[in-house]
């Protein structure tokens, strides 16, 4: 029988080759593509969908808030103007023009009106000719006649009038509130100018971020207050009139290149009209600042989205690699298994061939043997006179030689038959110690040649048990072969083989140890891997221990190894007394040694 290592030379390492590599990389690309499609498309849909939805949503919310702010501010300004108008109405309706003409009275009233805050700059009573009857204030306006002033006509018509900002006699921007009273057949006007600083601070002191500003402009687009950044009171308002298409609203203003206020090229603008006077309240802020928080939140969401994309990409690459590795390993194992099957098939056909040859040779051998015996009989019958004793002896010696050569041939054919029988994988009753001794006898020649002796410690109490002798033979020939090879470079060594019953696990433990070069720790975990070999190219296939391992496992056993570099290696094998059923086994038989044979 051939030891596995030598037979195994014909087994080639599975070579993935160019085609195999291409196949795996194609598979790899396919897997990656599919996982990415499956995971990224929904993520993109959800991510971008919610991003679009929420950015739209937050934009609407911010604009609503902006609009509300401007409405709220308008209410405050209107309330202020209404209160001041009521103040004047209260005064003129509760005091007779006579008492108001008394400067002392008017001063007292002016003081009371400014008690809370200095809302008013001055206060004057004007008759229907436009002349001041009384005046309290810092300006010398007592002798002024207002009959030609625009506001005089308005208030005489409407009874209540709030003017736009104007400079007037005092040459400073201000606006007035005027109310009338009819006393007898005369109309009296109570006129007050609102403190410009106070009013401006009321309107302008709304802090909206770093870029926001608030201002009032009249119907002609003239600023009634000074905005934070663009323009001054009484100048032309920064936004063109045609921008404000509706009564109140909100919009995005894009400044064109001609715009002198290109400080903020894109602005969020909210505006509303005051009822009286017809002033327009404008609140505006740099677009990017207004939406900064929302944009930041959206940007964070986008970052998370892209981060998840990246993570998915990495995970799919890693998992695909892992999968491909598993597939590759599976393929390699299948490949190996196929090769083993081919090998087994070779053995089987070799076995059949040997059986055929043995049979064909046995018959002629049988004839030769019987012929020689017939000749012996004939010689014995020939009278001693016709043949000299010398010739007789020579003939008989020749016949003996013939018979002994026939027996030799017969031994060869018997071994062939034994080999063919062993290649049929089947369970037989094995006397382990005797079996091991037989294997050792087989390997003795090789071991002796390498200066190695066997040290046996075979315990007598091991019962016979059912196993597969042909597989076991392969296993032990492998192990002993490796043990012998491990002594390369050493002049002598020992292979120790021991058996003992393991009653706890109900089986037998076999140790095969050597005094060879040992296995280095980094190789230790790979020794049972297929195609792992440390032997020179062409010497080992790397299949021996892998087959050994799978054989032992297949027989329901276990194999482990301990090794010290430079000192030697020991394999521990456990075989159960009752191995699992062999699925490939189709017939069972008990091989009893033939009661007689040649």
């Amino acid at each position: 029988m051939e030891p596995e290592q030598e037979v195994g030379v014909s087994i080639k390492q599975p070579n993935p080759g160019k085609k195999g590599k291409e196949r795996y990389s194609k598979l790899y690309r396919k897997f990656i593509f599919l996982t990415l499609i499956c995971s990224l498309v929904p993520l993109f849909l959800v991510g971008w969908g919610s991003y679009a939805y929420y950015s739209g949503f937050s934009k609407i919310r911010i604009m609503d808030y902006f609009k509300n702010q401007v409405e709220h501010h308008r209410e405050i300004i209107e309330l202020f103007l209404r209160e001041r108008t009521s103040d004047l109405q209260l005064v003129i309706l509760t005091h007779s023009p006579d008492s108001l003409q008394n400067p002392e009275n008017l001063r007292r009233i002016f003081r009371i009106m400014n008690q809370g805050s200095s809302f008013f700059t001055d206060l004057g009573l004007i008759d229907d000719k436009g002349n001041h009857s009384a005046y309290i204030g810092p300006y010398a306006l007592m002798d002024k006649n207002y009959s030609q002033a625009f506001w005089f006509k308005e208030v005489m018509n409407k009874g209540i009038y709030i003017s736009d900002m104007f400079t007037g006699f005092r040459n400073a921007p201000h606006f007035i509130i005027a109310v009338t009273r009819i006393e007898g057949n005369r109309k009296w006007i109570l006129r007050a100018s609102i403190d410009t600083e106070y009013f401006r601070s009321l309107v302008e002191n709304v802090k909206i971020g770093a870029t926001g500003e608030v201002y009032l402009s009249n119907q002609k687009g003239i600023l009634q207050t000074t905005p934070r950044f663009s323009g001054k009171i009484m100048e032309k308002a920064p936004l063109p009139v045609d921008f404000f298409s509706e009564e109140n609203g909100i919009g995005i203003y894009e400044a064109d290149n001609k715009d002198p206020n290109r400080r903020f090229p894109r602005q969020l603008v909210a505006y509303t009209w005051l009822e009286n006077p017809r002033w327009k309240l404008v609140v505006r802020q740099d677009y990017s600042e207004a939406f900064r928080d929302a944009n930041q939140a959206n940007r964070a969401a986008l970052i998370f989205l892209h981060l998840s994309l990246l993570i998915i990409l990495v995970i799919s690459v890693i998992s695909t690699r892992y999968m491909i590795k598993i597939i590759k390993k599976g393929d390699e194992e299948t490949d190996l298994l196929n090769k083993q099957l081919v090998q087994a098939g070779k053995f089987a056909s070799l076995g059949e061939l040997s059986a055929g040859v043995a049979h064909e040779i046995n018959n002629p051998l049988a004839i030769i043997l019987t012929e020689s015996q017939v000749m012996r009989d004939t010689i014995a019958e020939v009278p001693s006179l016709s043949l000299s004793d010398e010739v007789k002896t020579e003939l008989i010696a020749s016949l003996s030689q013939t018979e002994s050569q026939v027996r030799r041939c017969s031994l060869i054919t018997q071994n062939l038959l034994k080999f063919s029988r062993r290649n049929k994988s089947q369970r037989e009753t094995v006397n382990l110690n005797a079996f091991l001794e037989e294997v050792i006898r087989f390997m003795d020649g090789k071991a002796k040649g390498a200066g190695i002796r066997f040290a046996l410690d075979l315990k007598k109490d091991i019962p016979s048990f059912r196993s597969d002798p042909s597989l076991l033979q392969q296993v032990f020939i492998n192990l002993i072969n490796n043990a012998v090879d491990a002594h390369e470079g050493k002049p002598y060594g020992t292979i120790s083989i021991g058996t003992r019953t393991d009653s706890r696990r109900h089986g037998v433990e076999i140790t095969v140890g050597d005094t060879g070069s040992g296995i280095s720790p980094e190789n230790m975990e790979k020794i049972f891997n297929p195609f792992f070999t440390t032997k020179a190219v062409g010497k080992g296939t790397g299949l021996g221990l892998s087959i050994t391992y799978s054989t032992i496992k297949g027989l329901g056993g276990d194999i482990s190894v301990r090794s010290t570099t430079g000192k030697g290696t020991q394999f521990n094998i456990f075989l159960p007394f009752s191995p699992p059923d062999n699925a490939h086994e189709n017939r069972e038989e008990v091989i009893t040694p033939p009661r007689s044979s040649i």
Binding site: A358, A366, I367, E371, S410, E589, P594
Partner: protein, 129 residues
């Protein structure tokens, strides 16, 4: 002890004839046939103590011949002589009632010994009856 009557069944004519010569010379009453069918006929015509039967034969093979013979004369002892590698067929033969099996090539001394053993068993069994 009376020499046993032997029937030799083997398709290898040279071998069968040689065995016949050797056995006759040793005082056995031996008859030779070269196939299974003749053997079955022969046991019907003559009485034998031991049959030496080859396994691999053209036409009716050893196992079939053995079955037929055992059907006709259950008490005859059969020694299987096989050049065929398979011990299995030898064992199958023994399960069918053959006395034992020998592997070719066989020396006349071994054969003689086996035939004697078989004959002894036959005598013992006959005495029991």
């Amino acid at each position: 002890m009376k020499r046993p009557r032997i029937l030799l069944v083997d398709d290898e004519v040279a071998f069968a004839n040689n065995l016949l010569k050797l056995l006759s010379k040793r005082g056995y009453d031996a008859v030779v046939v070269y196939n299974g069918a003749d053997a079955v006929n022969m046991v019907g015509e003559k009485e034998f103590d031991v049959i030496i039967l080859d396994m691999k034969m053209p036409g009716m093979d050893g196992i079939a011949t053995l079955k037929e013979i055992k059907k006709k004369v259950p008490l005859v002892e059969v020694v299987i002589l096989t050049g065929h590698g398979s011990i299995e067929s030898g064992i199958e033969g023994m399960q069918l009632g053959a006395f034992d099996f020998l592997m070719k090539p066989v020396s006349i001394d071994d054969l003689q010994e086996k035939v004697s053993e078989a004959y002894r068993r036959k005598l013992i069994q006959r005495e029991r009856e």
